[in-house]
């Protein structure tokens, strides 16, 4: 059973080598239907706009993406009601977005960007048709894809993982219990650390 809390993708920084395969896959998977993007060179006619950002600092390389916060500040500030919770994911409805940037300001991770909004290989027009539309864009955990997040699937080092905090806690509880069972035994003679 899936967690009641939002899942998110976390990175094992001992494995990430900053190769950006996740960025490519993210863009590709979100534009197959919408913009007819294929898997080969020559099928892309729209700007390449991933929803996660490989970030390199002195001590780490890792993609930064939406944490699907439970008390989502982006959702709270969006006056257009363009950001909502679908299941356990926080989703942006780009059609509703007016590009006010409040969610970009609110997000503490910088996980949201304002990007050109393309449909059917063309940039959608602004409300008054005066130019191309931009919209807030962020990780949606590939919720429409039954196989789950493309970034996790494509990582050559298996550095990315879809994390469920409840599952994570249970695993840690079991590991802790296993370790403690030995040293907490009633009979001091049975203690492993003798």
């Amino acid at each position: 059973m899936p967690s009641e809390f939002g899942l998110f993708v976390s990175t094992d920084i001992a494995k990430c080598s900053g190769c950006k395969a996740c960025e490519m896959a993210c863009f590709q998977s979100h534009n197959i239907k919408r913009n007819n993007v294929g898997k080969t060179v020559g099928t892309i006619s729209v700007p390449v706009t991933p929803k996660l950002y490989v970030t390199v600092i002195e001590t780490a390389s890792m993609p930064v993406q939406c944490k699907h916060c439970e008390n989502s500040p982006c959702k709270a500030v969006c006056q257009q009601k363009a950001i909502s919770r679908v299941g356990s994911q926080i989703i942006v409805d780009e059609a509703k977005c007016i590009g006010c940037k409040d969610c970009l300001m609110a997000c503490p991770f910088g996980a949201i960007a304002l990007l050109p909004f393309y449909v059917g290989g063309r940039q959608a027009p602004q409300a008054d048709s005066s130019g191309g539309k931009v919209a807030a864009s962020k990780c949606d955990l590939c919720y429409e894809d039954p196989e789950g997040p493309a970034c996790v699937r494509v990582c050559p080092n298996e550095a990315l993982r879809l994390t469920d905090v409840n599952e994570e806690r249970k695993k840690k509880n079991i590991a802790a219990a296993e370790a403690l069972a030995v040293i907490n035994a009633g009979d001091p003679g049975r203690r492993a650390l003798s």
Binding site: A14, C19, V41, V56, I57, E58, P156, N157
Partner: protein, 568 residues
């Protein structure tokens, strides 16, 4: 490489020297990550905090241009502390006494200041390398692209010999090659001194063998290396010895060679230039004739991996447009010059190659078809010979006496050091999004959208602060030889005083700056060291416009279609 790439993950210790796998070869880098997961210790020698440094147990962040000092000091510690594999040295090597004599003065304390690595760290690294049981060295262009390159390669080999790290699984030394199929180009004799299979042009018996097979007279003199071409076009006084025609295949010297101003002059002054490539590139602008060739998915081929592994590459799609396969073009030119060369497929060519090269003899088409990869040497066509995963088994080396030879060398500094006028050091590097001169990857829209002109110069934030430079701002980078415009990238991963650029950008063409100082043996240029300065551009709006216009102009010169003045 003396080992197979797959063996990387089984080493007990990886000594990664001047090799940035994560940016150059992400797929090989996976092996380094896996080695770490399997418990290998990693020592990373690199002036930058590259990805390998991040997961390494030790990062020796040496000062650029001091490679041999560090390598010799490591050897010094291994000798002084009695960490040598005396049995291996005794049975399988020569020249150890002379080697010891030279190495004596390279004490860790003596090199600490120049290398910027403490004596303690050098000792610790030497002990780790000598004592792991299975130590493997990987090195890259951070070793080879210096005026003193071959000596450092030999220095690394010395370390492996003296500790017995040769001839067993998951040990040895591995040059993880710089370019796609560069191993294949060398294997097939695209070197001025050897025929295919590393057979010397100066040995009469070998020459006669090829003369007989090809039915032509062949020269007994080694040819000219790529990096010596400008000299032989511009400065050769005897017109008979001068280069008059230059046939360039799958290479973009006007982008990738050092000191581009000189390269351009030689391409302009050369009487006749032919370019054979899959797309237009910068060199194409100087070509008299352009021969369009098929790309990797449009033809059958045999490819050599850096670990000597031959693999078949198969045609996936039919070529479109006015293109021919490389071997067809060569055949037609040969025929027009009076020597018919009539192949109908690549298997015929491959059969000829293996019949003329004893080391490749056993790598038959059938075996390649069946086994995906055969690593040379593979000398027998019999089924049992499946090639050689690692070289020097049982301590048998290629010298006539079957022994490894210690090759001591003295350190030389890079040719052009930082000075008052050009206070920063400059080195060319790679980035993950683009490959080589991006003749291929620059035409991939996805990659182009990730990183595009005019590229970046990586600098320490302190240096940026002193010059008042901010992230993303356009700057002028200048050396004695020229300048280019690029964007400033402040990063803690770079030491103060050092700068780095990738060499594939047309506008941010960093080879305008680099120096044509060649290693005396390999003739590889010193791409990894020269002096530069970074200049702030006050009028950023002008600079942005200039970059855009320049880019459009280059694309127009190359005949690349543009949409309404914008890059298509």
């Amino acid at each position: 490489m003396s080992m197979g790439v797959h063996e990387i993950e089984d080493a007990a210790l990886l000594f990664v020297f001047g090799y940035n796998g994560a940016d150059s070869h992400p797929i090989v880098a996976r092996r380094i990550v896996r080695a770490k997961q399997k418990g290998a210790k990693i020592i990373c020698c690199d002036p930058r905090r590259i990805e390998t440094a991040r997961i390494a147990d030790m990062h020796l962040q040496l000062k650029g241009g001091t490679n041999l000092l560090l390598v010799n000091a490591l050897a010094n510690v291994i000798i002084e502390e009695g960490l040598c594999d005396d049995d291996f040295i005794e049975k399988h090597s020569t020249g150890f006494e002379e080697f010891k004599e030279v190495i004596k003065k390279y004490t860790p304390e003596g090199v600490a200041e120049r290398t910027e690595i403490s004596a303690g760290e050098i000792r610790k690294a030497a002990r780790m390398y000598a004592q792991s049981g299975r130590s493997m060295i990987l090195y890259g262009m951070g070793v080879c692209q210096f005026g003193q390159a071959v000596d450092v390669v030999k220095g690394l080999a010395n370390l492996a010999i003296m500790t017995g790290n040769f001839g067993r699984p998951a040990v040895g030394i591995g040059p993880v090659r710089g370019q796609n199929n560069v191993q294949g180009a060398c294997d097939m004799g695209a070197l001025p001194n050897v025929y295919p299979g590393y057979q010397s042009v100066t040995v009469p018996a070998i020459r006669e063998k090829f003369e007989k097979a090809w039915g032509v007279k062949l020269s007994d003199q080694p040819g000219i290396t790529l990096t010596n071409v400008p000299h032989h076009v511009l400065h050769e006084p005897d017109p008979k010895k001068r280069i008059h025609a230059y046939y360039i295949m799958g290479e973009d010297p006007a982008q990738s060679d050092p000191d581009l101003a000189e390269v351009r002059e030689s391409l302009e002054k050369c009487d006749f230039v032919i370019l054979q490539d899959i797309y237009m590139n910068k060199t194409g602008q100087y070509a008299d004739v352009i021969l369009p060739a098929t790309g990797w998915c449009e033809h059958d081929a045999v490819y050599s991996c850096c670990d000597r592994g031959f693999q078949k590459a198969r045609k996936l799609i039919e070529p479109t447009g006015d293109v021919k396969r490389d071997w067809e073009i060569i055949g037609l030119i040969s025929k027009a010059m009076g020597r018919p060369m009539e192949y109908t497929n690549t298997v015929q060519i491959w059969n000829e190659v293996i019949d003329l090269c004893p080391g490749f003899m056993g790598a038959t088409d059938e075996k390649l078809e069946k086994n995906a990869c055969i690593q040379w040497p593979c000398r027998s066509k019999e089924e049992h010979d499946m090639g050689t995963v690692f070289l020097h088994k049982d301590g048998k080396f290629a010298h006539p006496d079957g022994k490894a030879k210690f090759a001591p060398s003295e350190w030389r500094p890079p040719q052009e050091l930082e000075n008052e006028e050009y206070p920063l050091s400059f080195s060319t590097v790679r980035e993950v999004g683009h490959y080589s001169v991006r003749t291929m990857s620059g035409n991939c829209r996805t990659l182009r959208n990730l990183e595009d002109e005019p590229g970046w110069i990586q600098m320490n934030p302190e240096d940026c602060g002193e010059l008042g430079l901010r992230h993303g701002e356009l700057v002028k980078v200048r050396s004695k030889r020229g300048y280019c415009i690029t964007r400033c990238l402040p990063t803690e991963r770079v030491k103060k005083g050092a700068t780095y650029m990738t060499y594939q950008w047309w506008i941010g063409a960093c080879n305008e700056l680099t120096i044509g100082n060649l290693d005396p043996i390999s003739k590889t240029p010193e791409y990894k060291y020269c002096a530069c300065r970074v200049e702030k551009i006050e009028d950023q709006a002008w600079a942005e416009k200039h970059v855009r216009e320049e880019y459009e102009e280059i694309r127009a010169n190359m005949g690349i279609q543009t949409k309404g003045g914008r890059a298509a």
